[in-house]
C-alpha cells in the first residue's frame, strides 16, 4: 500500500507542479480521462463529442475545440492537436482552478490573465491575436443558437453593438478615418476588468472520488 502510494505520487509529481492540482484531484481526473477515452492513452474529438450531457450546451464546439488548441498548453505553440494525452487534458483543466486563501495578489493576476486568455483563444479562431467582427459574430451566434428566435441578423446586430462598445471604450478618440480592426488581448482585458474572473471562472475539483457515488450511471 505504502509503496504504490509513493509511486503514484512520483508519477504525478511533475504534473502537480505544472498544473497545481493535488494528487487526489489528479487521480480523479485520470479516472475520468480513462472513462472518456475508453481506456486508451489519448482522447480524440469524437470521444468528447459523444458526451450526452454536453449536447445541450450552445458552445460545445468551442469548448471541445479548446481542448485541442495548442495555445492552451502554455508552450507558445499554435495549431491544434488531433488527439490529446492526459497531460494536455490536465493543462486545459488547470485554467479552471479557483484561487485559494494562499494565493498572492500576483498569482491572482496571473490566474486572471490565464483565464482571460483561455476565453480569448476560444474566440480568436484564426489565431491572429485579435478578435475580428466576423469571429465575434460567430461566437454570439453560437451563444444564442439555443435560445429562441433571434435569428442570424439579430445576432449580427448584437455582435456589432458589442464591437462598438469595445471600440468606444478602448479607443475613445478615434479619428474619422480609422476603423477598428479587432479586439486585441489588452482591449479584451480592459472590457472584462470588472468581472473578477479569478473568482468567478472556476470549478470545484473534488478531492473525493465521486464516480462510485453515482449509482447506476455509466460513462457519460
Amino acid at each position: 500500500m505504502g509503496a504504490s502510494q509513493t509511486r503514484s505520487e512520483h508519477k504525478y509529481q511533475d504534473l502537480m507542479d505544472k498544473t497545481g492540482f493535488s494528487v487526489e484531484q489528479i487521480k480523479n481526473l485520470h479516472k475520468r480521462f480513462e472513462q472518456l477515452s475508453g481506456n486508451e492513452e489519448t482522447i480524440s474529438r469524437e470521444n468528447l463529442e459523444n458526451i450526452p450531457a454536453l449536447a445541450n450546451n450552445p458552445i460545445r464546439r468551442q469548448i471541445i475545440g479548446a481542448f485541442f488548441d495548442k495555445r492552451n498548453q502554455h508552450q507558445n505553440e499554435v495549431g491544434s492537436f488531433e488527439e490529446i494525452g492526459f497531460e494536455q487534458f490536465l493543462m486545459v483543466m488547470s485554467h479552471f482552478r479557483p484561487p485559494t486563501l494562499k494565493t498572492t495578489e500576483e498569482e491572482r493576476e496571473t490566474m486572471r490573465k490565464e483565464k482571460l486568455r483561455f476565453l480569448f483563444n476560444m474566440h480568436d479562431t484564426d489565431n491572429d491575436g485579435t478578435i475580428t467582427l466576423e469571429e465575434y459574430r460567430k461566437a454570439v451566434e453560437e451563444l444564442l443558437s439555443k435560445s429562441g428566435a433571434i435569428g442570424q441578423e439579430g445576432a449580427k446586430a448584437i455582435a456589432d453593438a458589442a464591437m462598438l462598445e469595445v471600440a468606444s471604450t478602448n479607443v475613445p478618440h478615434m479619428a474619422p478615418d480609422d476603423f477598428y480592426e479587432g479586439i486585441t488581448f489588452e482591449h479584451f482585458e480592459q472590457i472584462l476588468k470588472g468581472l473578477e474572473m479569478e473568482s468567478r471562472m472556476h470549478i470545484r475539483f473534488l478531492d473525493v472520488d465521486t464516480t462510485t457515488m453515482r449509482c447506476g450511471r455509466s460513462t457519460s
Binding site: R32, N57, L119, L143, S147, G148, A157, D178, G194, T211
Partner: protein
Amino acid sequence: MDVTIVPPIKPDDSPQAYPDTEKANLPVFTMNYPRIQIPFEITLWVLLASFAKIGFHVYHKITIWVPESCLLISIGLIVGGIMHSVHEEPPAALSSNVFFLYMLPPIVLDSGYFMPTRPFFENIGTVLWFAVVGTLWNSIGIGMSLFAICQIEAFGVQDINLQENLLFATIISAVDPVAVLSVFEDVSVNEQLYIVVFGECLFNDAVTVVLYNMFNFVAEMPVVEPVDVFLGVARFFVVGLGGMGFGILFGFVAAFTTRFTSKVREIEPLFIFMYSYLAYLVAELFAISSIMAIVTCALTMKYYVEENVSQRSCTTIRHVVKMLGSISETLIFFFLGVVTVTTEHEWNWGYILFTLLFAFVWRGLGVLVLTQIINPFRTIPFNLKDQFGLAYGGLRGAISFALAFTLPENITRSIRPLIELINVRRTNRNLDTINVEIHCRLMEHTIAGIEDLCGQWSHFYWKDKFMKFNNRILRRILIRDSRAESSIVALYKKLELQNAMEILDQVSGDISAAPSIVSLYEEKKTSAKPKKKFMAADLRNMHDILSKNMYKIRQRTVAYTRKNALPNDSQTREILIRRHASIRRSLRPGSFQTAAVPRSHKYFSLPAGKSLDSKFPPQRLSYTGKPLKPPHLSLSRFKVRNTLFHTVFNIAYSVIKHFEFKVNLLAFSTAFDHISLPFSMSGTCSGVYLHIVPDLH
C-alpha cells in the same frame, strides 16, 4: 255635540321670516371631527414625517453629518415633547398589531423584491449556516454572559433572570438588514460578503422566532427534558421550511394569475401586493416565519410576473414597492422619536455597556469560528478581512449605540474608512454592457460544459438542471408567452430602445439632423442609395425598427440597490451616449472589414457644410477604467451614517424597555403566544416592539 277639530294655531308672536334662536336651523358651517379623526390623524402623521424627509434634503449639508433616520427620530422627539407638555397621549395607533401587520410587511417586501437572486442562490449554504448557527451562538453566548454579569451585585440588576437575559440577547444578536445594505452597497464590498450578511438578516427571522418561543416556553417549566430540545429543533424546521413553502406557493399562484391579466392591465400591480401580503398573513396565522414567507414569495413571483405584465405595470409595481417601504420606515422612526419622550425610562449604564461589549465579543468570535468551519466548503473562502467585514456589518445595532452615546462625535464616522483602511476586497460594480453580459453567459456555459466533461457537479450543474426544468415546465404554465429569451438579447433590445429614445430626445423637433439608427440595419436592406435629405421613409423605418425591438423588453433589475431610488438608467445612459458617439464615428466605410457597408446615409442628412460633431458635441465621460459612479451614489455615501445611527434609538430603546420586561412579563407571555416575533429586523423592530409590548395588556 259636534266636535270641531281645529287646526293648530301657530303662535303669531314669532315672525316667520327670520331664523329663530330656539329652532334648529340649517347649518351653514359645521364640524364633525370624531368622524374623520382616525384617517385624518394617520394622514397628518404620514405627511409630517414626509415633510421632514423633504426638509432634510433641502439643506443638503445636514445629511452629511447626521443620517436621515436620526433626524427623523429627533423630529419625532420634538413633536413628542410638544405633545407631552400639552399632556396629550401619543397616538394609540402604534400598537403591536399595527406594527407587525401594517408597517413591517412593506419594508420586507421591498428588501425581498430587489434582492439579487443569482449571488444569493450561489451562496445559500453559507447564508443559512451563518443565519442559523450564528444566531444561536450569539444569543446564547450574550445571554449567558449578561446573566453572569447580572449576578454581580455592583450593578444592581439582579432581578433580571436568565430567561429575560436570553430573550434580550436574542433581540440584540440579530442583524439589521437596513444598516447592512446601506454600508455595503455604498462601499461596493465584494459581492460575496454582501450577500452573506444580507441573507443572514433575512433568514435569522426563523431562528429568532423559534428561539423566542422556546425560551418563553422553557421558562415556565421546572425541568427541561431532551424531548423539549428536540421539539424545539423540529419547530425550527417547521417554521423555516413552512415559511418558505408558503412563500413559494403564493408566488406560483401569483405568477399563474398574471398569466391571464392581459385584459385587465390596470389592476395587475394589485395582484402582486395582495398575494405577498396574503403570504405574510397566512404565515402569521400559523405562527411560522412570516418574513421568510413574504421574501420567498417576492423572489419566486418576480421572475415570472415581470414577463407577464405590461411594461407600465412593471414600473408601477417597482415604484409602489419602493414607496411603501420608504413610508413605513419613515413612520417607524418618527414614531420612535415621539414615543420615546412620552414614556418613562430606566437607565443602567453598566448593563448597557456590558451588553455592547458582549455583543462585540461574541459576534467576533462567532464569525471567526463559523468561518473556519465553513471555509473548506466554499470555493472562495473568506479571508480575514472578509471576516472582519462580516462581523462588523452584523454589529450595526450594538455598535451604533455605543458609538453614539459613549464615544466622541468624530469617531462615529462610519464603516467606510475602516473598510478602505483594511482594504477589504471590493467589487467593481458590473457595468451594464453587452460585452460583459455576453462574456458572463459564455463563461457560465463554458464552466457548465467543462463540468459535464469532468463529470463533476457543483451548483452550476444544479442551476443548469433547474433552468431546463424551468424552461420546459414552469415557464409553460406560468407565463403567457413562454418563448425563452436570452438575457443578452433582452439587454440588447433594451439598450437599442433607449438609444433610439435618446436620439429622439436630443433632437426634439429637428429630426432631419438626427443620425439614423437605420444605418445600422441598412446593410441588408438596400444598396447604397444616396439620399439628399431625411425622408418620411426613414422615419417609417425608424419606427419599424423601434417597434420590432420593443417586443418584450424588460429592464434588468439593478443589483442590490435597496436604499436608493428606483433602478436608474444613468449608467446605461452614459454608455449609450458613448455608443451614440461611436456609432457616428466608427461606422465609416471600410470599418469592420465588412464587404459592402454603404456610405452612411446619415451624413447626407446633415445641413451642408456642417460636421456631425458640431451638431452633437460628444458628451462622453472619459473611460479610464474606473467604475462609473451613478449620481445617486454620491448621496448614499453619506447615508452610511445610517449604519451607525440608524439603529441607535432602536437598540437604546430595547435596552431601556428591557427593564419594563420584568414588570410586565406575565402579561407578555400570553401576548407573545399570539404573535410571531420577527426579531431579525432588530434595527427597526425590536425597539418598536419592545416599546409597544408594554401597551398590550
